[in-house]
Amino acid sequence: MSKSRKRPDGNAKVTGELKYLTDRTFPKMLYAKVLRSAYPHARIRSISTERTKELPGVEAIITHQDVPGVNGFGIITPDQPVFCDDKVRFIGDAIAAVAATSIEVAEEAIKRIDVTYDVLPVLDDPEKSLAEDAPKLREDGNVLYKKNFTKGDVNEGFKRCEAIVEETYHVPRQMHAYMETEGGVVVPEADGGITVYMGTQHGFKDQFQLSRILDLPKESIRIVSSPMGGSFGGKDELNVQPYAALLALKTNKPVKLHQTRAESVISSIKRHPMTITIKTGADKTGNVIAHDVQIVADTGPYATLGPAILDFAVEHSAGPYRFEHVAVNGTSVLTNNAVSGEFRGFGGNQITFALENQMDRLAEQLEQCPTAFRKLNLRGEQDLGPLEQRIVPTTGASDVLKNVEQLKKQIETRKDHPFLRTGVGIAMAMHGGGLGFGRLDGAGGRLSLSDDGKIDVSFGFEEVGQGIVAVIEELTTEALQCDENDITITIGDTNRVPHSGSTTASRGTSMVWHALERMKQEFKEKLCEKAATLTGEPKDELRLGTGGIYKGEVQVLTYRSLRKQLHHDDQVVVETSFDFPTTPDEVDGGHYLYTFAGVLAAVEVDLLTGQVNVTHLHQAISAGEVINELGYKGQIEGGGVMSLGYSIMEDVVMEKGHYTKPNFDTYMLPTISDVPRLTVDAIEKLPDGDGHGPRGVGEIGTVAVAPAITKAIHDALGIWINKIPVDPSIILQAVEKEGGTWWNEFENEQPIASHK
């Protein structure tokens, strides 16, 4: 890694100088609050806003009757009501919203909205939803989506197996926990349109969805959407934009809506909890012959991207391995729990936890080294992808495995402490980038010479904290051989940016690189041509450089004077639009570009408390060239810590459809004290002639952390973990079952060396 440029947005963020969209205020601005359901499942009998109208300061109250267009949102299917009319299906369902002159009045106003309900049975578990007599959350039942994949015949395969492992794994509902909760301001414009100042991962998608809800032409809706204080997938779907927009249009005043943390917990989407049952069998030499996977996802009451997430989990069920017979049955089940949806890793984290556990258990049963066992089953450079589709050749799988294998040999675990046990585990993952075959996955960008003589580079991507601005700066200055003072970066405003698709699926870096590759030559030529005309120098001898146009080492024209000397109408603009590369094979959702992670975790388990202390988390990443070293490390380290939380502490527990941990005083996220030693190795090499440039690393750092940690616990204590977050009481029970290993040592007078 050599490019350690500081991110352009860094200083303003760490000093607090930067104004987020939720910090904005406007003259005459009103404040909005949303009334959410009192029950996770109920029929609405009546909604009365009478008592609210008397309250001074209330300027508008809206319900389902005030939605002029489609009363629903959802990136693929608009099945989540903006406002519920007949039924509520989870505790975060919206019923009404109020705009008032202060937050306090708005809060009081929503308390005065009288709703009567007939309470319905709560489907708080997919098993309950799938029962024959379960009430239906949708007319056609409680299965949102099914996805199967079959290769060969697993039943035949199992007949040839010497070792078979069958287990059920449980992974939790995780919260994105972005620092900036959802919100911003919607401002009505003189032309009858609106400007929406709210963070999102895809401004144009919000524009489309709002147009459908508000029954306004898309052109009348401007979305200003960057910067934002984190998203992690959580702001890909629409959240509170419709409420502020409807209220701004109704009152003709700017309306601010910024959710409190508690409101965010109630309404926001979460990572899908899944129950994954897997039967995996290998022959005596260790070749995995058959792999039978059942995935049940709790998707909550509405779709958002639930189906795509299940597709992704199914696709990655065999990860970086090549198994002869594979059968995967995935079911995404509707419940009255929180809406599950987009979250960094997109179904990969859940399935990888289960898959990697299977690999370790099988290796143990076969008495093989887990690394050697993985190697034996690993994909080769030219192998097909997991859905038997053609993919870009890659040695990533073996590269990352080699890296962690070497590190593992160097790590010594201490076994001499009476009350602590240490262990090391490794795990790996393969992760597809982009949306996959058959999904609209357009991208694009624009280069122009702006009126102030700056080279403006523009994308429809959003800065969610991931560092896309630094990536754009790094790649643009490299592509055009200019420096950062020569360029301006325009993102996050539908009035000013081209369509680039969603800021999601680890596609940003890749798309910026592709766009610049397509635009750079034409843009350089256009500028040199203009410069040649103005200076009389031969065009072919001119080049772009720092500050302007050069002939050899001599600057002949600054960008500024070039712009000044051009006629106003003589604009230098190059645009491109193209699709994210997908597999040439018609495999629905199949990916083409994959990244890989090899993870090593070292843990200390406290025998007295059962608590797990992760002491070292190492990730080897294969994703092509590093564009910005700090950004890359930030993504992998940050992703690692996020998944450390997923592994040992985070779970949005719901009981009967209600949250039991409604805020950050009880929902535990890792703090800086929980952050272990973090190391990252970037494996930049790609096969010769790859031509696809750098891959995005937004997700890969989160995918294989949990199984590495649970394997490390197994290494320390010999206990297999089927459920995350790891429950210390389960570890303690296992220790106590053996009479407390430390206590036995004490009683049997076999004290081990001093720990002092």
Partner: protein, 280 residues
């Protein structure tokens, strides 16, 4: 059919009254005993407000009472003013292992030792019990100094804590451990603390064991203390103490199996650590 109707008026405007002396604070409190509340660092009240609890009409701030601040050292005691912040308390030798486990640095800069004692399950309470601290409270006209255990039930009447007196016993014999849900800034799952002075491996009379389940006030584990006092700290005594401790913890019906097991493990490991020649 259920009505989602709640009777509410607009949020009461809470008035903060700043008292400049303990006397003034008591007078203010006496004026509105039911609709006011004393506030020191305010970190707990802030948390309660976030949880949706309605603030009282009047908050009586103790921040501007100089006599309640600061740390004084006498020959036998460390005397800590109740309004001394936890950050400042971190410099007191016997609290060095305790204070960093409480909340976060920002909270500790506001929160006070007196406030932590007034909080149902303040993390410092088990430590102060084990340290045999005394608490001076003023309630009405009366001032009294009582043990922490005796102080706990007095909290219901919202007295003003003025000082905490910590005897200067041997710091090496003091032990404290909080088990949270993560390494810092966490609610306690359980907290244990002990004082165990040894003279030639014999347990001295001032043995104290305290346990808190993180929800309710801390308690002393007197049977376990009795099992140890005057005994030579040997393997068999530790085995006996372990059994006594197990039985004593089993009587705490609000505690979970996990809490009981961890409390026993941590206490016994401390005894083993203190026993000469163990694990050496």
């Amino acid at each position: 059919m259920v009505n989602q109707t709640t009777e509410h008026t607009l949020k009461a405007n809470t008035v903060v009254q700043v008292a400049h002396s303990v006397k003034e604070a008591l007078e203010l409190k006496a004026q509105r005993p039911l609709s006011s509340r004393l506030i020191s660092g305010g970190t707990l009240i802030q948390l309660e407000r976030e949880q949706g609890k309605v603030l009282p009409e009047q908050l009586i701030s103790l921040e501007q009472i100089p006599s309640l601040r600061g740390i004084e050292e006498t020959e036998d005691f460390m005397i800590i003013g109740a309004m001394t912040t936890l950050s400042e308390c971190a410099n007191v030798e016997c609290l060095k292992t305790v204070i960093p486990t409480v909340a976060s640095p920002a909270v500790r800069n506001r929160a006070t030792l007196g406030g932590n004692l007034m909080y149902t399950c303040g993390d410092t309470i088990p430590a102060l019990i084990a340290l045999d601290a005394k608490v001076t409270v003023v309630d009405g006209a009366e001032e009294r100094t009582v043990s922490v255990i005796d102080f706990l039930p007095l909290r219901a009447d919202e007295p003003i804590v003025t000082h905490i007196h910590i005897p200067k016993e041997s710091v090496e014999s003091f032990f404290y451990q909080k088990v949270g849900f993560r390494k810092s800034f966490s609610k306690s799952q359980l907290t244990v603390s002990s004082m165990l002075c040894l003279d030639n491996q014999r347990v001295q009379n001032n043995v104290r064991f305290a346990f808190s389940d993180g929800e309710r006030a801390a308690m002393r584990l007197t049977s376990t203390e009795q099992a140890l006092v005057g005994q030579q700290l040997t393997k068999s005594i530790i085995q006996e103490a372990s059994e006594t401790l197990r039985k004593e913890l089993a009587l705490i019906d609000t505690a979970t199996t996990y809490q009981r097991t961890v409390a026993k493990n941590v206490f016994i490991s401390e005894l083993i650590n203190r026993m000469e020649g163990s694990f050496e």
